[in-house]
Symmetry: C2
Subunit: 464 residues, 2 copies
């Protein structure tokens, strides 16, 4: 009996880290047993929540948990939408990185070294004051963490021009099996030595090890931006317009789409004067020097007016901000329509959009649900929102079945089941479809190479 | 005896593919036994050279070679500089992709599907006529292949702004162990489903399987460019100038550096009027719309003149081309100085440059060699050229020993042993230093997962 008590992993963790870093009250354990995933997922109350403050803390945690066979569920801000940060085993512990928030910027080298708990928005503000720019902009950027963004390979509107989180990670330090420390990359922009473990770690959703530090790439901050709003009375013209813009020599820093339901939802929520009768809107942003943004947005306007599309160019930053606020209000605006909302982030090759959109509407019709579509049309990443009454279990189930068909549709069109949110728990069953037998076997093999005991975020992404 | 003959793998390959695709004359086997690597490497004459024409050909080749334990050495144009395409086993075969040159561009989706043998330059020209742009620009782009570029994760001057080859590969089809076909990715710009096998394949130098197709991302073609030449009388000012430019809101599409030896070599070779007495030059290119490039280059000029640096802005494309020709002449110009030239592509965090450059000069002095340095200073990727007399074996050996110290220096400064050329044969021994024990073990594990018999480009990158 004494022997068993001695080997209690929570006691060992307390001893190694100090009491303040290992919490076991039911309130705390319950607080850390969920994330922002909108649909019910398997979930357990963990046996403890651990708050490492240093790399060495993380190394000790992994060492002990690996010895004691304790599953580890890493967590950033818990803003994920696919259950990535949800603990699924009672014997597991949640590792919250909220106390690891240090970062250091090397202006001359245009790189930064960050801990996983740094809030993306705070980091972005900081570097912009130095004339630098960290582009990845998931909707959650005001509260999500760099660690979470790296785990999910997060993206947002600006990623059309600037790429996703992966493009900005130059190196990582992570603790993998048995507490071993893996260090990859360097504060340099080019490195082709050996297989690229750095980029491989990005988007692995905490299943290969625990990130303790990342080296990030920064780029020059654009001096100015300009925004145009294009109003379409015919959905089929949208795809043509996107192609024309993208082959005109103008590289938009964002190219966003809203369908009629989305426009109306925003206008019902907080009116900004969007045209309620339009079939669709495109929001086009360009950035660069002061003069060049005027020039570029002028070219976009001419090109769209040549297609008989009405275009409003924002005359100043305040006007642009008003339009972008409408775009950012979409989440709460749609949430306002019904008590339940499933927001899926499928991707289509953007050329298929005119075919796929009507098919999406068919799915909504078949399951008798309200659907609103918006998203990053420049890169084909659409947010398909299925709205339902949460108190109506039967309707909720219909919504979940409809989501399955949405994924099938994306894969049929050579798309992806996720452009931003990751696989986590909710999309696991579709991953095998997307990778095929051969690819899935490799994913499993790689997972076991990093984590032979399957203790890092087990049950997420790949089943081993 | 009959049994052995029946199992002759070359006979099986001939039967499966047809005689025309399997060559065994000594001339051909010798022709395909080398690449552009400037220093002596281990090398064997292969038993055959195979020319697949379709994906199915490649699948059959791998199936047979995997059964018969025949090592496979894939080859693009053979323009690599680290021995990546060199066969090292007599029982092995070279697989040349020169007949797989089909490609298809989807303008509306801004993607392309390409076979590995496509010449990068031809592909770039084709897409630029459609208003699109494929940025990766290794010096070898006029003859190197997309397949080779993917294998090495190639880059060039434009990669400062636009990223390396990896950033443009959205998906691959490859034949891995036993002839199994691995298909990853899709013609979409964002995809975070599962571990990123696509990007992982890029830069793996043919050691994980044989690439048969890639899906590439294209971006809008910039409308104009402008070039400035900055002349420095003090090496230490160069780093400061680079930082000022990179935090000014201007994002150069290239930022190239030449030291005094490099300047003089070019002027001796084909004079273009570069200042022979300068300590160093920066070549700064910006791109964008017609007006914006004037504006940006003006900002760069003002900023540098504020530092008392002399700046010449090219008034037109012809003048810019003249300067860029000087930059591109560097290779042959340096080759002209001595019969032997080792061009190493080490990377430093660019802030260390002012410290590292004098140390590089010390190495040259220690080994009594002529050294010229130029390269992509914006991303810290320098080409360190050691020049020697090829007929003087003693001097050649000194050059090889000096290279070892150059690599050590790069690693001491948190840099990399290669920013562009890859590891291949020549940098193998340094890879372990860069990855450490933990990282190297993972590389080995991953290699064996894709290729348990170690038949894909064996002996390159990682020793298993």
């Amino acid at each position: 009996m004494l022997g068993i008590l001695k080997r209690d992993p929570i006691e060992r963790l307390r001893k190694a880290l100090g009491k303040d870093k290992v919490k076991t009250s039911l309130v705390e354990r319950k607080l850390y047993s969920y994330d922002a995933t909108p649909i019910p997922v398997e979930r357990s109350v963990p046996r403890a929540v651990i708050f490492p403050e240093t790399k060495e803390d993380v190394r000790r945690i992994v060492e002990i948990c690996y010895e004691e066979n304790v599953p580890m569920f890493p967590r950033g801000a818990g803003s994920g939408l696919t259950g990535g940060a949800v603990p699924t085993e009672e014997k597991g512990v949640v590792i919250s990185f909220e106390r690891m928030t240090r970062f250091e910027v090397d202006v001359d080298n245009a790189t930064a070294v960050v801990e996983p708990g740094v809030i993306t928005y705070e980091f972005q503000n900081y570097v912009e004051k130095l004339g630098l720019f960290y582009p990845p902009d998931p909707s959650s950027y005001k509260y999500s963490t760099i660690g979470g963004n790296i785990a999910e390979n997060a993206g947002g509107p600006r990623c059309l021009k600037y790429g996703v989180t992966r493009e900005y990670v130059l190196g990582i330090t992570a603790v993998i099996k048995e507490g071993n420390v893996l260090k990859t990359g360097n504060p340099i922009l080019k490195d082709v030595a050996g297989y690229d473990l750095t980029k491989f770690f990005v988007g692995s959703e905490g299943t290969l090890g625990l990130l303790t530090e990342a080296i990030l790439k920064l780029i020059p901050k654009p001096q100015a931006r300009a925004t145009a709003l294009a109003i379409f009375d015919d959905l089929r013209k949208v795809g043509e317009a996107v192609t024309k813009i993208m082959t005109s020599g103008v590289f938009p820093s964002a190219l966003e789409f809203m369908d009629r339901e989305a426009i109306r939802a925003v206008e019902d929520y907080k009116p900004v004067g969007l045209p309620r009768e339009a079939e669709a809107l495109l929001l086009i942003e360009v950035d660069g020097t002061e003069t060049s943004v005027r020039e570029q947005i002028g070219q976009v306007k001419d090109l769209l007016e040549g297609m008989n599309v009405k275009v409003d160019v924002s005359e100043n930053e305040a006007e642009a901000e008003r339009i972008w606020t409408a775009r950012k209000n979409l989440g709460p605006a749609l949430g306002n329509l019904r008590s339940g909302k499933i927001n899926e982030d499928i991707v289509f090759p953007r050329t298929y959009l005119s075919e796929a959109l009507p098919e999406l509407r068919e799915i909504a019709k078949k399951y008798d649900l309200l659907m609103a579509v918006f998203g990053h049309i420049g890169d084909g990443n659409l947010h398909v929102n299925l709205l339902y009454d949460k108190r109506n279990r039967e309707e909720e189930e219909r919504a979940e079945r409809a989501v399955d068909e949405v994924f099938e549709l994306a894969l049929r069109y050579q798309g992806s089941i996720t452009g931003e949110h990751g696989v986590g728990l909710t999309k696991k069953k579709f991953l095998k479809w997307q990778f095929g037998e051969e690819g899935y076997e490799l994913l499993k093999g790689i997972k076991l190479l990093f984590d032979p005991k399957n203790l890092f975020n087990p049950g997420k992404v790949v089943e081993v």
